[in-house]
């Protein structure tokens, strides 16, 4: 292998040769980028289910994809299929993909509608708390393979693997809100291992339901500033009060730079470094000293072989929760020191909300697009800055600025932390 195709540690350089994205802003990179760089919010009132009596009634659901049935598996699959079609078209790849699939997908459970249907055909209750005994009696009478398939975690990757001809056993993963970044990291690792020249990395989350919303509500994680919806997500401001739950998907085609160049593919950027570090502090809260997040960012920089002066823009996790934004600021301050206020840091979540499982990959696509277009997307709703967070958040309006290296952070429940470093294609 020529030296030009190896990184500072002698590993194959990993290129991004195709991207696809769906968020509440629309389908496809072009529409998404126009809206995102235009400071448009995709957050709206929830219409998927009644919200009367709920403290949060807004979200960034994706309601414009046609589905054969209304459930989380169908929606998550459909979005992943669409972003993968877009990414492969951009990569100029057709036919079997012939590389591994790494899929970040939401944990799924039966829909309530499926439980209600089952209850309707079950024998009557004999004592409190016996619903599952009755469900079982109904299943003994008549099996329901669709019910089984709809709650298997492997069912989305199965369909993607068949549709796109990926190789081997696909990995379906969850690292909570860092899942999208972890999927990319697994793809990068596989190429660096020399196991493959290319990897398909996909992240999708179409799992918003009443129960999902209520679960996050009960943990006081969601914004309750329902009116107007588009103003609710306000990362790094003083009046931020929680994240806005959302849906989306993204696909990145990763290839060794050498293989990409050899087949004459266009290189959209380089996946230069990945870092991760688990937190042991608490199930939902991060270590107050930001230690694991700091270690994660430093690990990503070290893996990329660049120091903190090399980063020109940070795509923040920036959830708009009181705690995340404070902790993320603290961590970035520790790593970037006095230089931090001069590095633009913006949060896509101010416009698209928190796409949960998909966020790390959706925001990786937008990070690469930032490099490609020389346009920094803004942090909207930045009217009342948190005085304790001194950042250039690219407030409210996009900015033209050429950057060559971007850091993207993802942090999640369960002590999950992952950061990615992306750079421009080597000229």
């Amino acid at each position: 292998m020529s030296k030009a195709y190896k990184d500072h540690l002698g590993r194959p350089i990993v290129a991004v040769t195709g991207m696809g994205v769906i968020t509440s802003l629309g389908q496809g990179l072009e529409d998404n980028w126009a809206a995102l760089s235009g400071g448009v919010s995709g957050i709206h009132k929830i219409s998927r289910f009644p919200t009367e009596g709920l403290s949060t009634r807004i979200s960034g659901t994706v309601d414009f994809i046609e589905l054969p049935a209304e459930n989380a598996v169908e929606r998550s699959y459909a979005m992943a299929r669409e972003t993968t079609l877009e990414a492969l078209a951009q990569a100029g790849l057709s036919g079997d993909f012939n590389g591994p699939l790494f899929l970040a997908a939401p944990p799924i459970e039966p829909e309530w509608s499926a439980r209600f249907e089952l209850a309707d055909r079950s024998p009557p209750s004999e004592r409190p708390g016996d619903a599952y005994n009755r469900f079982l009696a109904a299943m003994r009478q008549k099996a329901d393979p669709a019910f089984h398939e709809a709650v298997l975690f492997g069912s989305i990757s199965e369909r993607l693997a068949d549709r796109f001809g990926t190789r081997g056993l696909p990995v379906t993963l969850s690292t909570a809100c860092a899942s999208g970044a972890t999927a990319i990291q697994l793809g990068v690792e596989a190429i660096r291992q020399g196991r493959t020249d290319r990897a398909l990395t996909v992240a999708t989350d179409g799992s918003l339901s009443a129960e999902a919303l209520i679960r996050f509500s009960l943990l006081s994680a969601l914004s309750t500033q329902n009116d107007p919806p588009e103003k609710a997500s306000k990362p790094f401001t003083k009046d931020r009060d929680g994240f806005v739950i959302a849906e989306g998907a993204a696909t990145l085609v990763l290839e060794s730079l050498e293989a990409a160049v050899a087949r004459g593919a266009r290189v959209y950027g380089i996946l230069r470094g990945c870092g991760e570090k688990a937190d042991l502090f608490h199930r939902t809260r991060s270590s107050p000293d930001g230690g694991p997040a700091i270690a994660t960012i430093r690990a990503a920089l070290a893996d990329a072989g660049i120091d903190e002066t090399g980063i020109g823009y940070i795509n923040a996790h920036g959830t708009s929760t009181p705690e995340n934004d404070k902790m993320e600021y603290l961590s970035m301050s520790a790593v970037f020191g006095e230089r931090l206020p001069s590095i633009p840091v913006s949060s896509n979540k101010s416009m698209i909300g928190h796409t949960l499982t998909a966020a790390g990959a959706v925001e990786a696509v937008f990070s690469l697009q930032t490099i490609l277009t020389g346009t920094l997307p803004p942090t909207i709703n930045y009217q009342n800055p948190d005085p304790a967070i001194v950042l250039d958040v690219v407030p409210n309006v996009k900015r033209s600025k050429q950057v060559t290296a971007v850091l993207s952070n993802s942090f999640g429940f369960g002590g999950q932390n992952a950061s990615l470093v992306m750079t421009a294609e080597p000229a």
């Binding site: 944990p107 409190p128 975690f153 056993l169 209520i214 570090k277 369960g414």
Partner: protein, 400 residues
């Protein structure tokens, strides 16, 4: 096998099954002259027999009651088994090693609150505004902490909290394939120098009606009395008996393990997974590819730990495959002994294989009517898992 610095070796086994807690009772059964006796619960979930958890003193691995309370059974079982593996590897309370240790967990989803679900469906039968009812009941009846006890990646999260494993934390999902990919990925990372030591495994709680329902949706359970796994008949249901199991392994590069003077059970010589249509012999063709590395080892001293789910057609096809392609190697269907453990199925098999090789066991038949005795101490092992719905994987392990 020639030894290399980047060999992937197993240095810790944490296992909990109906047969007992930890390596000791499992080593004993693997080295016994008699076939082990199954432990089965046929009353509690009748007509579904289940291999139950043994008696466990949770505080042995999860010191704080507060931590125990934050978890549902499958998480608690996984955290417990992970602690056993760290202990067994001599790494428990080694803050430096655990702080840099990578982790991959194969996880399913958490338990439903059966009472809340029942309350809602019962009420819904009387009302036609079911969605509104959901909002009312879920808002008032759901325990806020239940969400975290259900969340797939919180098994790993709890291992970080309780055992301070914080190098990295990844959770794989997708039934049996999750367990295969978890070990395969850990193996590939260590082999390539991307990790020096990794905690990998999974846990499965069978004693919950929501998971029993999942399998009954395809009428997959063996019903009534327990029967040996290779002789279950379609007249007695689908063939699968679930088991509560937890299995974690500490994998290290040989260099890392030897530098700290660790005891090595076995080396993973090869591991792979695949998927696809099972029609027209395609399953067998993939298995043949995956099993190829086993040819390198003497058949007589190779034991095959089959993870068959017990599904009639899959069990029949796997047995026929093994008897043809891996002829002369005694087969031990461990799911017949401890039950099927879905995400944890493959890790349980690798744990059995590691313990057998570490102790040079002549493993007695688990199903004496269908499995041949061993005539030599185990020096190599093959572990198979064919997913009940999809995905398959095979690992080949070698003794030191």
């Amino acid at each position: 096998m020639t030894k290399s610095a980047n060999d992937v070796v197993i240095t810790g086994v944490g296992i909990v099954t109906s047969q007992g807690v930890g390596a000791e009772p499992h080593v004993a059964l693997l080295g016994a002259s008699q076939s082990p006796k199954v432990r089965i619960e046929t009353e509690r979930f009748a007509p579904y027999p289940i291999h139950p958890l043994p008696e466990i003193d949770w505080s042995q691995q999860i010191a704080k009651r507060g931590d125990q309370r934050q978890m549902e059974n499958w998480q608690r079982l996984g955290v417990f088994a992970a602690g056993l593996a760290l202990d067994d590897a001599g790494l428990k309370d080694n803050l430096e090693a655990c702080g840099s240790m990578d982790m991959i967990v194969a996880a399913g989803g958490g338990e439903r609150d059966i009472n809340v679900d029942s309350l809602i469906v019962d009420e819904a039968l009387k009302r036609n505004d079911r969605e509104q009812l959901l909002n009312e009941k879920l808002t008032t009846e759901l325990r806020p902490t239940l969400f975290l006890a259900q969340l797939s990646n919180l098994l790993a999260g709890n291992i970080s909290i309780v055992h301070k494993v914080t190098g990295s934390s990844r959770t794989f999902m997708g039934e049996e394939a999750a367990g295969i990919s978890a070990i395969e990925t850990a193996f590939a990372r260590i082999k390539a120098g991307q990790s020096t030591h990794t905690l990998v495994g999974g846990a499965f709680s069978a004693e919950r009606l929501d998971i029993v329902l999942l399998i009954e949706a395809i009428q997959g359970h063996s019903l009534g009395e327990w029967h040996p796994i290779w002789s279950r008949k379609p007249g007695n249901g689908g063939g699968m008996i679930l088991g509560s199991v937890g299995a974690f392994l500490v994998l290290e590069s040989r260099e890392y393990a030897e530098a700290r003077g660790a005891r090595i059970y076995a080396t993973i010589a090869a591991i792979g997974g695949d998927r696809g249509s099972r029609e027209d012999g395609r399953l067998e063709a993939r298995l043949k590819d995956l099993a190829r590395p086993a040819a390198e080892f003497d058949p007589q001293s190779t034991v095959v730990f089959s993870g068959t789910s017990g599904f009639h057609d899959l069990a029949r096809r796997e047995k026929a495959f093994l008897e043809t392609e891996l002829a002369g190697r005694p087969i031990r269907a461990y799911g017949g002994l401890v039950g099927h453990g879905i995400e944890a199925q493959f890790p349980v098999g690798v744990a059995f294989a590691a313990l057998s090789l570490g102790h040079g066991a002549e493993v007695p038949p688990f199903d004496p009517d269908a499995e041949a005795p061993m005539t030599a101490a185990a020096k190599a092992a093959v572990v198979t898992t064919i997913g009940h719905a999809r995905g398959e994987g095979i690992a080949v392990l070698a003794a030191e």
